[in-house]
């Protein structure tokens, strides 16, 4: 931390070889560089945030221009007393734990396998990464195609194995399907990050363990995992953030159905706003989601901080 309080522009040019950017009293060059971006970001985030708060205490009328009629705590009372809402949160939690858990496990597995491959690793990695760049809508629609009960490739495979029935038509089947679609799209991300972490484990440590006669699983447990724990943590948190954010796949495959089986909170919010046009209630749900995601983001930054991963 630089302690100097003031420095003239002239001085700033020539002295202080050790300081990256000399500290300025108020808004220095760095500050000026940040201004345009931050103003736009503030307009795009603080204004909607305030609007969200105002809306959550009002009834929003759309006809003849947007009007807010204050209704006090009405939306919030509804939010906390709606049993469907609690079910949605529970479902969101299960969905979240399943997708992120499976992605972490499979991603780690794929990364460990790829790490053992010496030739063609880059090509294999590229192939594994492909789903990550696919638009979630397409992933969802493709999922519908593959699981269609009459001509879907995957339902045909399942039929040959003895399972029949409409996958997206049954609650458990639909929930499993949307989880697996998300896992299909995002496991590559975990694999990519983990592989980078594995490549950072010093070779000498692993060799020493092998020379000492440690079996593979022990090396993994006591050498590799501790060494990549930071990277795994980052992967977990990055994926958690996005798992909370997105909902496109469910929206285009099951739309929350059948019988609410896949109605996670974002779907309910979307439906409340753009199907029932109840923007006030939607705003209350949105604020709750926002609070939840900020809580996770805080954890994220704090963890990275204590482990010295932020700059």
């Amino acid at each position: 931390m630089a302690q100097a309080a003031d420095s003239s522009p002239v001085l700033r040019r020539s002295t202080r070889p050790e300081a990256a950017a000399p500290k300025e009293p108020r808004i220095g060059f760095e500050g000026k560089m940040m201004v345009p971006g931050l103003i736009l970001l503030a307009a795009l985030s603080i204004v909607p945030f305030l609007a969200l708060i105002a809306m959550s205490f009002s009834r929003v009328r759309l006809l003849g221009g947007v009007r807010l009629e204050p209704v006090g705590l009405g939306n919030w009372v509804r939010f906390f007393t709606d049993p469907d809402m609690w079910m949605s949160w529970l479902r969101t939690l299960i969905y979240f734990v399943l997708t992120v858990g499976l992605e972490m496990a499979l991603g780690l597995g794929i990364a460990l396998c790829l790490y053992r491959v010496l030739r063609a690793r880059n090509i294999l990695l590229s192939l594994v990464l492909l789903p990550m760049f696919a638009a979630p809508v397409i992933v969802g629609l493709l999922g519908r195609y593959l699981t269609d009960s009459t001509f879907g490739l995957y339902s045909w495979m399942l039929r040959s194995l003895g399972f029949s029935g409409d996958i997206l038509g049954s609650p458990v089947g639909a929930f499993t399907a949307v989880v697996l679609m998300d896992v299909w799209e995002w496991t590559p991300l975990i694999a990519l990050i983990t592989l980078a972490g594995l490549s950072g484990v010093p070779q000498s440590v692993r060799e020493a363990a092998a020379v000492d006669g440690a079996p593979g699983w022990m090396t993994l447990r006591y050498i590799v995992f501790p060494a990549i724990s930071n990277v795994l943590l980052v992967a977990l948190l990055i994926r958690s953030m996005d798992a909370i954010r997105y909902f496109d796949i469910i929206w285009v495959t099951t739309n929350g159905g059948p019988a609410d089986a896949t109605k996670i909170v974002p779907i309910r919010l979307y439906e409340t706003a753009f199907r029932f046009f109840d923007f006030g209630y939607a705003a209350a749900i949105g604020l709750a989601m926002l609070a939840f995601s900020i809580f996770i983001a805080r954890t994220f930054v704090r963890l990275l901080d204590t482990r010295g991963l932020t700059r």
């Binding site: 492909l130 638009a135 299909w184 972490g197 079996p215 980052v234 909370i244 706003a273 989601m289 900020i294």
Partner: protein, 310 residues
């Protein structure tokens, strides 16, 4: 801290940070872990990877194949692997009532402009963020990243009302702004991660040589982060191009994008799966190519610089 950074090249062939050394092995040099010498392990790895590749690639290949099938082959009860390929699906997408041309144009415009703006503003602000020593820098950084992590559904609702008030619904500028809500914070964090890799001594020398801060930034620092700029651009492009949640709310006949076109093929009367797989291919393939082109920097990009990889 960055004072001890001495990267051999800014792209980061070998980067030293917090004492962790991450070295990319030169191509062709085996970095074999000793314990994988056993034949059984090798077979297990091969089998597991084959399964992983099948799991990953079968849906994509099936989409590609189906896009060249005619109507009966697409919806055949037994999956057709051998069939007479046809370009009808693609041809139908560009002729007739629902011509895909405008959708592609809207997608290119909205995603492209938003990515360019995000990179420009993100580079400026990211540089400022990387170099500033102001009080409360951490809080500022947290605020920036928290806007990126906010749930899409929670942003869309108030933004919809604001855009309605401003007349931005069904316009490309509206979509560009909507996409900036996630691309701008992402670009700022990512660029600041790339700028942090550049040793501050380079600016110092430039300043000693008589440059202004701006000249030093423009002529010395910015060229060194070219890979960061390209990676940021590509990732912002992918995020915006793939967006559906914003586009479905904010766009109308004059601004509908490709993902909307795809979802519109789903109608009450049924889905033309041949056309749908063709659109899917058109949407997905360019972004896959773009993503793979920046693969070297993807780890830095997708972890916002928290992990420096190969």
């Amino acid at each position: 801290m960055s004072a001890s950074t001495t990267p051999r090249s800014p792209a980061g062939q070998a980067a030293r940070r917090d004492g962790r050394v991450i070295v990319a092995a030169p191509p062709g040099v085996p970095q074999s872990p000793l314990e994988d010498s056993s034949r059984r392990t090798r077979w297990t790895v091969a089998i597991l990877l084959t399964v992983a590749l099948l799991w990953t690639l079968v849906p994509l290949l099936w989409m590609l194949l189906s896009s060249f099938k005619n109507r009966t082959d697409v919806t055949a009860a037994t999956p057709q692997v051998l069939f007479a390929p046809t370009l009808d699906n693609y041809r139908n997408l560009f002729t007739g009532s629902n011509n895909l041309g405008p959708y592609i144009w809207h997608s290119v415009l909205a995603a492209g402009i938003s990515a360019v703006l995000a990179v420009c503003l993100g580079a400026l602000a990211g540089y400022g963020l990387a170099r500033t020593r102001m009080h409360g820098k951490k809080h500022l950084a947290f605020w920036i990243i928290s806007t990126r992590m906010a749930p899409i559904a929670a942003i869309v609702v108030p933004l919809f009302l604001i855009f309605r008030g401003l007349g931005l619904i069904d316009s490309i500028p509206g979509l560009v702004l909507a996409y900036l809500t996630f691309n701008l914070p992402f670009a700022i964090w990512l660029m600041s991660a790339f700028f942090a890799e550049v040793p501050p001594s380079l600016e110092e020398s430039a300043l000693v040589a008589g440059c202004t801060r701006w000249q030093a930034f423009r002529t010395v620092i910015l060229p060194l982060t070219k890979s960061g700029l390209v990676t940021t651009f590509v990732l912002c492009l992918v995020f915006a191009w793939n967006d559906y949640a914003f586009a479905v709310v904010f766009s109308g006949p004059n601004s509908q994008t490709l993902p909307i076109a795809a979802s519109q093929l789903v109608t009450q009367t049924g889905i033309d799966w041949g056309q749908l797989t063709a659109i899917g291919t058109i949407v997905v393939v360019p972004m896959m190519l773009a993503g793979l082109a920046v693969r070297r920097w993807l780890v830095t990009g997708l972890t916002l610089g928290a992990v420096t990889g190969e």
